[in-house]
């Protein structure tokens, strides 16, 4: 059990042992607990796509909408429009939101809808037993592409910067405390918040070791998240394919802009 008792529904957790989703869920639950002074629990609404990641809404005892594949951000936008006091947080997959639902992701960012999107980026369609996704590297030999993907990965950080997201971060499910802080900032940020979470999938793409070796924190190098140019350069340091580079985690960019809910 990766959440404290009060936040746990009691549903059987069916993630694989050591799955990165545990770390991600802990970080979120921890963030919610720490935020609960400012944001009452009933103001959270968590949403999810379909995939291993999606199961998180069954486990956490908060308002939730277990959406369909790729659509959570659209639903979250509707929720926020209908009741601006709520805090919608979408838990989505890399297949889910970089492939099937990429249009909703881009437009949520473009609109600066005041929602948070947390991507369980395991770089695999895992619940469907391991096909390549838009962030799978060339070395990923999935069931639909046994010789590796015939296309290069997307860089979701850069894509979100380009689409107009006002809070753009990358986290690592292996660093729960660091991720917790990102989640808190994302939720508190007024406007569209995006976190791509590097989430090892121990069955189809076990990346713990790789990330442990390659990840570094933007805070540690004095990155200024208010500087778009810097953010963009940092975003480009890793293209989700190379293996011989350092991977920055932390907040790439943060700015203020009127939200969609204010403008509609």
């Amino acid at each position: 059990m990766a959440v404290t008792k009060s936040l746990y529904t009691g549903a059987e957790i069916t993630w694989c042992r050591l799955c990165g989703n545990f770390g991600l869920m802990s970080a979120f639950a921890w963030a919610v607990e720490e935020l609960s002074d400012t944001i009452p629990l009933e103001k959270f609404v968590i949403l999810s796509g379909i995939g291993c990641h999606g199961k998180i809404v069954d486990y956490i005892d908060l308002n939730s909408f277990y959406s369909i594949h790729g659509r959570a951000p659209a639903t979250a936008t509707g929720i926020k429009l209908a009741n601006p006091e709520l805090y919608p947080v979408c838990f989505v997959g890399d297949g889910d939101i970089y492939a099937e639902g990429v249009s909703h992701l881009i437009f949520s960012a473009k609109r600066n809808s005041d929602i948070t999107v947390i991507v369980h980026d395991n770089r695999s369609y895992s619940l469907t037993t391991g096909q390549f996704t838009p962030t799978s590297p060339s070395i990923f030999k999935g069931k639909s592409t046994p010789e590796g993907p015939p296309e290069d990965p997307l860089n979701p950080i850069a894509l979100m910067l380009e689409a107009g997201a006002t809070f753009v971060a990358r986290g690592y499910a292996g660093y729960t405390d660091h991720l917790k802080e990102l989640v808190k900032q994302a939720i508190l940020h007024k406007g569209f918040s995006f976190i791509d979470v590097l989430q090892p999938c121990v069955v189809f793409f076990n990346t713990y070791e790789f990330y442990n070796q390659h990840v570094y924190k933007l805070e540690d190098v004095g990155h200024d998240p208010t500087d778009y140019e810097q953010a963009y350069r940092r975003a480009k340091e890793w293209d989700y394919n190379s293996e011989d580079v350092k991977i920055p985690i932390g907040v790439f960019y943060k700015t203020e802009k009127p939200t969609y809910e204010e403008r509609v």
């Binding site: 009933e42 909408f65 369909i68 659509r71 659209a74 429009l81 209908a82 009741n83 909703h104 881009i106």
Partner: protein, 539 residues
């Protein structure tokens, strides 16, 4: 006095406006009037026309053949040659030639309104209607002075050939089906109208967007139809009334989410205005060929309502009801309209009244269960944000709390709950007085069965040809017994529809109702009165 008038001209030349203003003048004079609007898919040029029929008696359709043809350009003359009959009076642009035609200086100042002013002036004079009757319309146009000058000039350039006198009190307003849908939604408590542009549903979007402050609603135009419907789901989950509008192709994109709506028991209203398909088809023309698609769309089994208004009054009332039904039963309600209902000009007497029914709300204490199993299958609603409770909606099969289940017994249990809710819903729909409506010669043994907007033409020919007309307002749940009752011991049952494959007939068959003949039209045009009379004459 009954006359059919065609007004034709280029897109962008104000043809629709001219037709609508003329309909307004005739309505003010106490006439019944119906206007058919025909336009191709382009913005400027080409050929648009409006056909108006007016009479002291109710009119719900137009004839193909016109008494008066107003051709504001040369193309309109050629386009309507075959719509003329003996004695047809032609008003043509002064620059064109046609034997016996009256020439009018239709002003060429594009775009739009100036030409509509000259059309109105010329036609009113021709009909012998006083100049003052047109003025209020002209004066509400932009650039009123210029328009008034043009109006007067055209009025004075023509001689009167008819004497259209006042025909009593004004019977209603000129409205379109789309406007009625929009007003019905507002009066049913709409909070959010969410839509992506698509003919012929877009006018609802435009109408509501323009008046959103007045109506106290939000209007949202997202990135695509999938975004639309999923946003609407979010709004409803959070407790606000949402509705979407689209046509067949856009609806197709929503069908995955329709199934989610069924599973998550989210109250959503979908307005589907049909146009001529398949695919892009003939996008500005009409059809009734999405019937079976809409009735059975979405994977898996879940209850839904499909309702098809045939008049603007029904569009208003059923739309208003739809929001209440969606929320009472937590189901998708699909309003199936079409271009003919949506964009034609009707004379309607809509009595507006806000009717927003409170749904079954959770008033309990303790743990809230979104999918509580109840006797009628309807679980009390609560919304996120309420202290102490947790509201879990889901696309997966689930237990009462909304948590995923896969166990056979639990799966069946929740399916049974939804079946039960479907039964409760069915009882309600079938018990409605208006589940089936009838008209025409009600004691006749010859019965036309039809649906949706085809009602208008059916009604208009029924009387003269001695038919009874029967029409289900609800297509799902289907009021088969009521329909059978109304058909009674008819000797001739004719089903009538705008579908090449006879979709309505097949739906009737599914419910054990057989027609002796099926009349189908599928060229994008509605049935015209004279045309249908002929077709029925042959039966």
């Amino acid at each position: 006095m009954e006359k059919t008038i065609i007004i034709g001209g280029k897109a962008g030349a104000g043809i629709k406006e001219a037709g609508r203003m003329l309909a307004g003048v005739l309505a003010n004079l106490g006439y019944h009037v119906f206007g058919y609007v025909d336009y191709p898919s382009l913005i400027r040029g080409g050929h648009n026309f409006v056909t108006l029929r007016f009479s002291e008696e109710p009119v719900n359709s137009v004839d193909r053949k016109a008494d008066i043809i107003v051709a504001t350009d040369g193309r309109s003359i050629r386009a309507h040659e075959e719509d003329a009959k003996e004695g047809t009076v032609w008003l043509i642009n002064e620059k064109e030639q046609k034997e016996g035609a009256v020439k009018v200086p239709f002003k060429e100042v594009a775009p739009g309104f100036f030409k509509s002013s000259s059309v109105l002036g010329a036609v009113l004079k021709l009909l012998g209607i006083p100049l003052e009757e047109g003025l209020p319309f002209i004066l509400s146009l932009p650039q009123r002075e210029k328009n008034e000058r043009i109006y007067r000039e055209a009025y004075n350039s023509v001689d009167s050939m008819f004497e259209v006198k006042r025909a009593g009190e004004r019977k209603g307003e000129i409205v379109t089906g789309n406007e009625s849908v929009a007003l019905g939604a507002v009066d049913g408590g709409l909070d959010f109208y969410i839509a992506y542009p698509m003919t012929p549903a877009s006018p609802v979007l435009h109408y509501l967007a323009k008046r959103k402050s007045e109506f106290g609603i939000k209007v949202v135009h997202p990135e695509n139809e999938i975004g639309v419907i999923n946003m609407a789901v979010g709004v409803a989950y959070a407790g606000k009334r949402s509705m979407v509008g689209t046509s067949g192709g856009g609806f197709a994109l929503m069908t995955e989410t329709l199934s989610l709506i069924g599973m998550s028991e989210t109250p959503i209203v979908i307005y589907e205005a049909q146009r001529a398909g398949p695919s892009t088809g003939v996008p500005t023309y009409t059809a009734q060929a999405d019937l079976l698609f809409v009735t059975f769309a979405g994977h898996g089994d879940f209850p839904r309502v499909v309702v098809a208004p045939g008049t603007p009054e029904e569009a208003y009332l059923l739309m208003r009801d739809s929001l209440n039904i969606a929320w009472r039963y937590q189901v998708p309600v699909l309003i199936l309209g079409d271009k003919h209902l949506g964009e034609s000009y009707f004379l309607a007497d809509i009595k507006r009244e806000k009717v927003v029914e409170e749904p079954k709300l959770w008033k309990g204490n303790g743990e809230y269960r979104r999918y509580e199993i109840t006797e009628d299958g309807i679980s009390p609603l609560a919304f996120p944000g309420q202290e102490g409770i947790v509201v879990k909606g889901t696309s997966y099969e689930h237990d009462e709390r909304g948590i995923t289940v896969e166990d056979a017994k639990l799966v069946k249990r929740m399916q049974d709950k939804r079946l039960k809710k479907g039964e409760t819903l069915r009882e309600y729909i079938l018990s409605r007085e208006d589940a089936v409506v009838v008209g025409g010669n009600e004691s006749s043994k010859k019965v036309i069965v039809t649906w949706g907007s085809t009602w208008g033409t059916a009604l208009d020919v029924a009387k003269e040809l001695g038919f009874k007309v029967v029409r289900p307002l609800f297509l799902e749940p289907f009021p088969a017994d009521k329909l059978r009752e109304e058909i009674g011991t008819a000797e001739l049952v004719v089903s009538l529809e705008c579908s090449a494959s006879g979709q309505f007939e097949r739906l009737l068959n599914m419910h054990g109702i057989k027609s002796h003949r099926n009349i189908r039209k599928y060229d994008g045009r509605p049935f015209f009165r004279d045309e249908l009379a002929e077709m029925l004459g042959e039966v």
